[in-house]
Symmetry: C2
Subunit: 423 residues, 2 copies
């Protein structure tokens, strides 16, 4: 049984003519298994419908933004009410002040907030603020960590210059010695250390932060005056209601937020402590839509849901059920999974699958049965993933494992992946 | 008569606590005359209401985005219909293809489009694409031209490094010899020449492009293989329905768009010709909300209005009426104005006003009478600026000139401006 793909195929052909490569960025299906739809027509709760009308339980959540469910009514109502009054005006609306107050109250290390549009805006602002604060240049980042797609951080170098990242120095995540070595090599010039809440790289197991490593990052910053930046753009509010590292007792100087805190409305943020306020005031950063009120009204309501509901417990319960169900099914069919990271942001890889053909094969079988997974990128659960969604998912994945077993000898490597690895 | 400011003042005090400096970026009123409201509560058509309920005819149009009127119904309806289906999903919606097709059909030099969120995203992408296409580093920009707020282009240097703009070289706008000199100094390394459609710098007269200068930019690019980038973020669709330089017969290789093409919904774009397609495909650029469907639906409808209505003629008629009315009133009261740039984007400065105290004084009197102008930044008209709006405006400005004449001896320089000029 293959799903209908006619409309998606026609859209892809039209897109090829007017969009370079047919699509770009993280929502291109270039690296996804054959049969993955490129275009969607609708979303509601945890469900997505592609351009051909095929329905999926979605485990990507728009790569993060869908925290409470697509079209979640309280957020939609707050946004619509603000939109009727005004969105992008000649000045900000009152809701901007309320959002800054609510966000700062929510995040224990924060005394102030600045809002922007992209995750990359937030991480780039944190870099600039750290340089303004310290008068130093060097930024330490974990090797392979994704902090956005500006020239200083984009993972693909075409069109960028060595000079764009001349002062970006890499260390190994979770390796305190590697961090100390990188730090000491640039002793007097470290402006900031960037850290993701946990390691969440594509095609890799996720790794939780070693509390000793996290403490050593903080200690290095305290000793030197460098700023600790925790980049919450991807993980924020799926690990804690506070900054993720609050759970292991480490407070950053700056944190960067995006994706989910307005449940899909476009807004990102930098939050900081008192000592960094004057540097944040000194830098010049802005954007045409950074003061738009509708996403801020959506964010105020989303933060209220974060504060007042059991959204996180529901996400974790759904994630736990998924992880345990997959584990059982895999074992029953003779597969060993590596399920890593928080259950709210699962990465599901197969043991003994060096070229990912087994994982791709399985995701393809799931997709045909109405479940949208990624074979290489961490996934996301939302508070809308219900009992019915999980039941449908696990029925599909069970069948997918059986089919995978039958197809195992004939699986082939995903061709674009081969090309990527050769490059 | 002073307007009530209690609520605005209370919001400013709250903002001081949770937003560095109380506000940031281009929508901060730091440089605006005393009495300018920082916060707005509503917008409709060409009118704005501040947090205290004071009403203004608005000539900033959100610094550009308001092209057809705040809350313009056909755009609001298209956006709401898409929002009900889905905005930020796990993949783009069908409307993205339609928008790319419509935009490319509208802009004569363009064969493809890529969408992003900020104007800065678009200009930074153009830079990266030009470097990928040419394998060269140097970017020529006109001195003082605003191309965004990333480290390579932001007008205030705090937190940026000399290395961020090591390969950005400046020439004088409209000065073909200055351009040739800058070009020849970097002969073999010029990746792109950036040009704004006309010169629109703060605190300065606007200057139309000399067609010979524009032709020489094109010729230099043709000879060398460097790319011509016309940055339409601010001026786009207020000068022409095509790229602004189409009017003087010069086609760019890349153009960058933002602000107004979705009438206030957050989206920007890079458009390019066939020869740059493969470089555009090679670079990696993305953002959490770049594939969101609601702003794209708003853009499709806005482009339809641009294509099918007399929006531009109406904007120009309103701008002409404003310019002529102000000219007459100023002369009648013994003032000489310098009104420069397209009538759709007026800059209004006073002769014999080296420290801008006269201009600030006049804008303050206009504000008190319900007309929102800027004394230093080019302004914007929308297609919603009606006969009634113009009549109200000119009644207010007439009175403001009379009052200005009376207050002339006691005007003082705007203090933050003095501080800025000292820095």
């Amino acid at each position: 049984m293959e799903l209908s793909r006619q409309r998606d195929q026609a859209l892809r052909e039209r897109a090829q003519a007017v969009i370079p490569g047919g699509m770009y960025g993280h929502e291109s299906t270039y690296l996804m298994p054959e049969g993955t739809p490129q275009f969607f027509s609708r979303g509601k709760g945890a469900r997505l419908w592609d351009a051909d009308g095929n329905e999926y339980v979605d485990y990507m959540c728009a790569y993060g933004p869908n925290l409470l469910g697509y079209g979640f009514e309280p957020v939609e109502a707050a946004a619509a009410a603000q939109q009727a009054r005004g969105d992008t005006l000649t000045g900000p609306s009152e809701v901007m002040v309320q959002l800054a107050e609510d966000f700062v109250a929510q995040i224990s290390h924060a005394d102030w907030a600045m809002f922007c549009k992209n995750g990359t805006d937030a991480t780039s602002m944190a870099m600039v603020i750290a340089r303004a604060h310290t008068g130093r240049k060097t930024i330490l980042c974990a090797k392979g960590a994704y902090h956005g797609a500006a020239p200083w951080c984009t993972p693909i170098l075409a069109g960028t210059l060595p000079e764009d990242r001349a002062f970006v120095v890499y260390y190994d995540y979770n390796d305190a010695q590697s961090l100390v070595d990188a730090f000491e090599a640039h002793q007097d010039d470290v402006a900031a250390i960037f850290a993701t809440p946990h390691r969440h790289e594509v095609f890799s197991d996720q790794i939780d932060p070693d509390p000793e490593y996290a403490a050593s990052v903080r200690a290095l910053c305290d000793k030197s005056g460098a700023l600790l930046v925790v980049d919450e753009v991807r993980a924020g509010f799926r690990i804690a209601r506070d900054c993720s590292w609050a759970k292991i007792g480490v407070a950053p100087d700056l944190s960067t937020w995006g994706k989910c805190f307005a449940n899909g409305y476009p807004i990102s943020a930098v939050l900081g402590g008192e000592k960094v306020r004057s540097a944040a005031k000194a830098v010049y950063v802005t954007g045409s839509f950074w003061f738009s009120a509708t996403p801020m009204a959506a964010a105020v309501e989303t933060l209220k849901q974060i504060r007042e509901t059991d959204y996180l417990e529901r996400i974790n319960a759904a994630g736990t059920r998924l992880r345990e169900g997959l584990q059982q099914q895999a074992a029953h069919n003779g597969f060993t999974l590596r399920q890593t990271g928080p259950v709210s942001m699962p990465q599901v890889l197969f043991e003994e699958d060096p070229d990912f053909r087994v994982g791709y094969g399985w995701v393809r079988e799931c997709l045909k049965r109405g479940v949208y997974f990624s074979p290489y990128h961490n996934m996301f659960l939302s508070a809308a993933h219900s009992e019915a969604d999980l039941a449908k998912t696990l029925a599909a994945t069970g069948d997918a494992f059986v089919e995978l077993r039958a197809k195992l000898p004939s699986l082939e490597i995903h061709q674009p992946l081969l090309a990527l690895r050769a490059a």
